[in-house]
């Protein structure tokens, strides 16, 4: 850890109700520091994905506050746009743009959001594809790639915006088991590079190896926050013990 910890995400007392009245986030607090890797676990319906998606305002919230990289996510749309430019996100369903080639998927945001010339970013995009190990697929379309390859393209696409924070929303949950590893390997490399990462996942081995802290969420609240060793081997809360007993 750096000597002075810089805050990347600061969430305080975040509460959210769905339009149907369901109280999905019940006062969540979390601080993520620059360079830190945080893994969020929890049963389905615990609100962990919803919480993650508030970090780049894909979900709104009714009470509390979230500050990302010094910018508060409130009703100011300029802040939301600014945060989204700095925060990359990887989805469970990849969400590549099927009508664009792999390369154009990568170039879309840098050219339209950052207003950079296509020729100037093409090299960066190709080297990004090399980094995730699929440079030979640059001119194919997403539909021609396997799930693992698609997810690696999705990671490369987010990285092309040079984000300061990467959010992963169950990135391996819709992959065939043998494809999970190639995606996690890319994420490990990213972690080694010092990227700040918040990851919602069920991959225990990944959490043990990469995470600085692991969080358990249940029923819209943070139950436990601990370093992985303590979280997996000596959990304090009974709820965490029950959860681990089910997944380990």
């Amino acid at each position: 850890m750096q000597p002075t910890k810089q805050l990347m995400v600061q969430a305080k007392g975040v509460q959210k109700w769905y339009p149907n009245g369901f109280h999905v986030l019940r006062g969540v607090d979390l601080e993520v520091f620059r360079g830190e890797k945080v893994v969020i676990m929890g049963p389905s319906g615990s609100g962990k994905s919803t919480f993650l998606r508030t970090f780049n305002a894909l979900e709104d919230y009714q009470e509390g506050s979230i500050v990302v990289d010094g910018m508060e996510l409130n009703n100011d749309l300029r802040n939301i746009d600014a945060v989204r430019r700095e925060v990359g996100m990887v989805f469970q369903q990849f969400n590549l743009f099927p009508h664009l080639s792999v390369l154009d998927n990568l170039l879309l945001a840098p050219t339209w959001v950052r207003k950079r010339k296509r020729e100037d970013v093409i090299q960066q995009a190709l080297s990004m594809l090399e980094r995730v190990g699929i440079s030979e697929q640059a001119y194919k379309f997403p539909g021609q790639l396997s799930g693992g390859q698609q997810q690696r393209v999705a990671i490369a696409r987010a990285l092309c915006m040079e984000p300061r924070l990467m959010l992963f929303d169950e990135p391996t949950s819709s992959l065939d088991p043998e494809k999970v590893r190639e995606v996690l390997d890319v994420m490990r490399l990213l972690a080694l590079d010092g990227m700040t990462m918040v990851v919602v996942t069920h991959e225990v081995a990944f959490a043990r190896e990469v995470a600085d802290r692991v969080i358990l969420m249940d029923e819209g609240q943070v139950v436990e926050i601990a370093p992985p060793d303590q979280f997996f081997n000596h959990p304090k809360h009974e709820r965490t013990q029950r959860f681990l007993a089910q997944i380990l």
């Binding site: 780049n56 894909l58 746009d81 989204r84 430019r85 925060v87 990359g88 996100m89 989805f91 369903q93 969400n95 590549l96 743009f97 099927p98 009508h99 879309l108 945001a109 339209w112 959001v113 379309f141 539909g143 021609q144 999705a154 696409r157 987010a158 915006m161």
Partner: protein, 389 residues
Amino acid sequence: MKRSPLTLQRQLFGSLANSAFTLALFALLVWAGWGVLSWAFGSAQWLVLRANAATLTIGRYPDAQEWRLWLLLGMLTSLAGVSWGRLRGLNNWPLNDRIAALLFVISAVLLPWLLAFGAINQLRLIFLVLLLLLLRQWSGGAWSKAFGKWWALVWGITYVFGLWLIAGGLGLPAVRPSDWGGLVFTLLITSLTLLLALPFGVLLALGRRSGLLLVRWVCVAVIELIRGAPLITLLFVGQNLVGFLSPNGFAPDRVWRATGVLTVFAAAYLAEAVRGGLNSIPMGQQEAARSLGLSSVQTMGLVVLPQALKVALPALGGQFISLLQDTTLLSIVGLFDLLGIARSVLSNPDWLGRYAEVYLFLAVLYWCSCAALALGSRALEKRLATNYS
């Protein structure tokens, strides 16, 4: 159990009943075909088409201004030739276009002769087809790729220029829209309506999904009101009521009023096709685009709409074909589209009773136009296909 594939022979002559049925149908076809052929080469009097070929093509367009239409045709032919060549250069161009080229040559020789266009027009048409085929041959090369980006613009400028050529004004003697007619009029009003209705329809579809309640209500009201009325009634409203209600001389020309009605009508149906496409695009696409920092307008224009239009393309193609056929209703409100001009020819005592010849000719013309639209939209579908999963 392995099932042998049904060959044509087994389908037609698999059993005694099948064979009897096949033979009976075949006999019926031969009898009907013989009837048509003996009429076409026997009692049919094709003179009506030869004598009125020019009228059917350009209506009451003044003879002295005919050169403008020829010039326009020449420009469109050149552009079409270059576009054809460029499309052929793409590796996923689906058509075997030797047949198409052959059809052009045959029709350039045969049609003017059949319709007695006269030697000069015959030569002009042959020249145009030669131009088309030569440009097709040359335009695969580097020079056309170099300004590929601007090609759509060239078409657009030519279209506007063509409207000016037809209508006149600004130096050229004006030809009033009510003097336009025939095939030229049908093609003009169809293409104009199509070009105006598509963007309008997309806006209506987007409005119908808008979060702004007032916008949504207005769009729903427009779409449902128009889809709830037959086109012919709307055309009558446009032709009679609008002229009746507006002060003398302020109502636009009847042709423009009809264009407006057709545009709004087509837009309402196109909007529903586009909405179907929009609904088929998963939320994840929008979320991914927004999470990359794209604005809502960029997300719609770069990510959602291109995919939605692709999905809607078969339905849109169908609507375009309907639109072409709907222009025949203009003849009922007294405009001289292809059908209208044919009716006026048939009302001439000289050509009394030549319905079958004229209407058969129209049917073939309409069929060819619709088939061209259908082939075009199918080719576009294939070209845009990127989903292999």
